[in-house]
């Protein structure tokens, strides 16, 4: 179930929430929508799910546009809105049945789907409890179960793990991964590790526009700055700045070196090399040659986090 988003623009009054966003999602892909709060993630999702129309642009879900075939599109989509709104006075089974009926599921399918959602989402013990009495983690599962009760081909999840504790986050992520295998999923988040853990592809949005698009690895590659390596070595020298520093600096493709201090004959340095080069081996050889004892050597690769900061803190 492919989704095509073209030139999406949305104004709230005078304010532009998203500006000319275009992207595609392939069938079976899990797409992470990453961006700081207020970047336009939720707005984009609200448009795709037909909650509100865009000011400009179109969305096409499997050949149906949101403008002309809104009901068709909504039938294919399972949606978990931001903050997971629920009817707190209904019990779990009542609520899931209600959601299923609104999707026009026939009785036999409803029964099967209900049983399978309760199983998959682990709702068995709480299925006759009022939703208002459930813990946040269970509520989130109910929200997910609701989004998938009609076995949609597309899942749109707006911050599915917000407000959960670390264990619950892992659970929900696994659930999404497991369920996402057969579906096209778009999930939004501002948590980076979430994207790395669950998504095949990432789109980073900032200020209503897409600033990066690719797999998590690609983005790391693309936005990698200079390589930085931290080392600590032991050498019996009187003046490390005179005896070690120049030798490190002289290594090929090292651009700069910083002395990080030291005591008892141990000295810390940070080396910065040109983008894409790997100087770890050279450092090792130099250390052997000079009879330094290499205590630590850490390569710092630009994390997605740094990519994110770089892109969104302009």
């Amino acid at each position: 179930m492919a989704i095509t988003v073209r030139n999406l623009t949305k104004y709230y009054g005078q304010e532009k929430a998203i500006d000319d966003i275009s992207f595609d999602v392939k069938t079976g892909e899990i797409l992470g929508f990453l961006g700081p709060n207020g970047a336009g993630k939720t707005t984009t999702m609200k448009i795709i799910t037909c909650y509100m129309p865009p000011s400009k642009g179109t969305v096409d879900v499997d050949g149906h546009t949101i403008a002309d075939h809104s009901l068709e599109v909504r039938r294919k989509i399972g949606y978990l809105p931001e903050l997971n709104p629920l009817y707190l006075d209904m019990n779990v089974v009542e609520y899931l049945e209600y959601a299923a009926r609104l999707h026009g599921i026939d009785k036999a399918t409803l029964k099967r789907q209900l049983a399978s959602m309760i199983e998959v989402c682990g709702l068995k013990e709480v299925r006759h409890k009022d939703i208002g009495e459930l813990s946040k983690g269970y509520k989130q599962r109910v929200g997910l179960a609701q989004a998938m009760i009609h076995d949609p081909e597309v899942l749109i999840l707006d911050e599915p793990t917000s407000g959960l504790d670390p264990n619950q986050i892992v659970e929900i992520r696994n659930l999404i991964r497991q369920l996402g295998r057969a579906k096209t999923v778009i999930l939004s988040t501002h948590i980076l590790s979430e994207v790395q853990a669950t998504c095949d592809r990432v789109i980073i949005v900032n200020d209503g526009a897409i600033v990066a698009d690719g797999t998590p690895e690609e983005l790391q590659q693309k936005f990698r700055g200079s390589e930085s390596i931290a080392i600590e070595l032991r050498a019996q020298v009187a003046n490390p700045m005179a005896e070690i520093f120049p030798k490190l600096k002289a290594l090929s493709s090292v651009e700069s070196v910083e002395y990080g201090g030291g005591e008892n004959g141990c000295h810390r340095f940070s080396l910065f090399a040109a983008k894409g080069s790997d100087i770890r081996e050279e450092i090792f050889r130099q250390a052997v040659q000079e009879r330094w004892v290499l205590l630590e050597l850490t390569r710092k690769v630009t994390s997605l986090e740094e990519v994110f900061h770089k892109l969104t803190k302009l």
């Binding site: 909650y51 068709e72 709104p85 009817y87 006075d89 009542e94 609104l102």
Partner: protein
């Protein structure tokens, strides 16, 4: 548009809303309070006036409606707006008209049930003395139509805000305005009196309550009902502006 599908959707929402009235105490409070107020005034009237008639009750119920109905309808849409569930509802394959109709019918049904329970008073009177059943039938019919208008107005008020208190007050004011129209005719410029009178709910109700069901009165109720419900649909669609 698929009519059968629409009917199912309206039914689903109707059922859910009605269940939610009975799951919370709202339905029971409404029924008990309604019956108690109407019953107290009714029995007072019965013993003091010593007549076998429901005339006094039919004068009283519209006033009780004015307070009870906005309370019944206030949460219908404003609660969904506040909790965000409106987003769930409107992203399901439904059209807004179905949502409005389902909710309207549920609230109307609750008020209708309360009203029908007052038939107990009719039967007690019928057992005590001779009662002209024509005006009684007309009265109940008229009250049902009036309840429909008030529910639609309350629902509209609820669609305007995410605050239930505001929804109640706006609903009450709307209902009160239409109730008062034919009582302020003295202050209305002469050329407008007939129009204002025609717009008044009470005027048409008293016509029907006399036992004469005129198509003009029924038409008035139906068109006002349709118009008010349409306003709710428009208001629900405001998210798309």
């Amino acid at each position: 548009m698929d009519f059968k599908r629409s009917l199912t959707n309206v039914g689903t929402i109707f059922q859910k809303e009605l269940r939610s009235y009975f799951n919370s105490a709202v339905a029971y409070v409404v029924i008990v309070v309604f019956l108690a107020i109407v019953g107290w005034f009714h029995s007072n009237a019965l013993f003091l006036a010593n007549t076998a008639s429901l005339r006094l009750m039919f004068e009283l119920v519209p006033i009780v409606f004015m307070f009870i109905i906005p309370a019944v309808t206030m949460r219908l849409l404003s609660e969904e707006k506040k909790s965000g569930t409106i987003e769930l509802l409107t992203t399901k394959p439904l059209i807004d008209v179905e949502i409005v109709l389902g909710k309207f019918l549920a609230a109307w049904a609750l008020v209708g049930v309360s009203l029908l329970l007052t038939l107990v008073y009719y039967f007690t009177i019928a057992a005590l003395g001779d009662i002209d059943s024509g005006p009684v039938f007309g009265g109940y019919f008229g009250l049902m139509l009036m309840a429909g208008i008030y529910v639609a107005m309350g629902l509209f008020a609820s669609s305007l805000t995410d605050n239930q208190v505001i929804a109640f007050i706006v609903g009450f004011v709307l209902v009160f305005l239409f109730f008062m129209l034919d009582k302020v005719l003295l202050y209305v410029p002469e050329g407008l009196t007939s129009i204002v009178e025609f717009l008044s709910v009470d005027y048409h109700f008293s016509n029907i309550a006399r036992g004469v069901v005129d198509s003009r009165d029924v038409l008035y109720f139906l068109s006002l009902l349709g118009f008010t419900l349409y306003l709710s649909v428009l208001s629900l669609e405001r998210r798309k502006w």
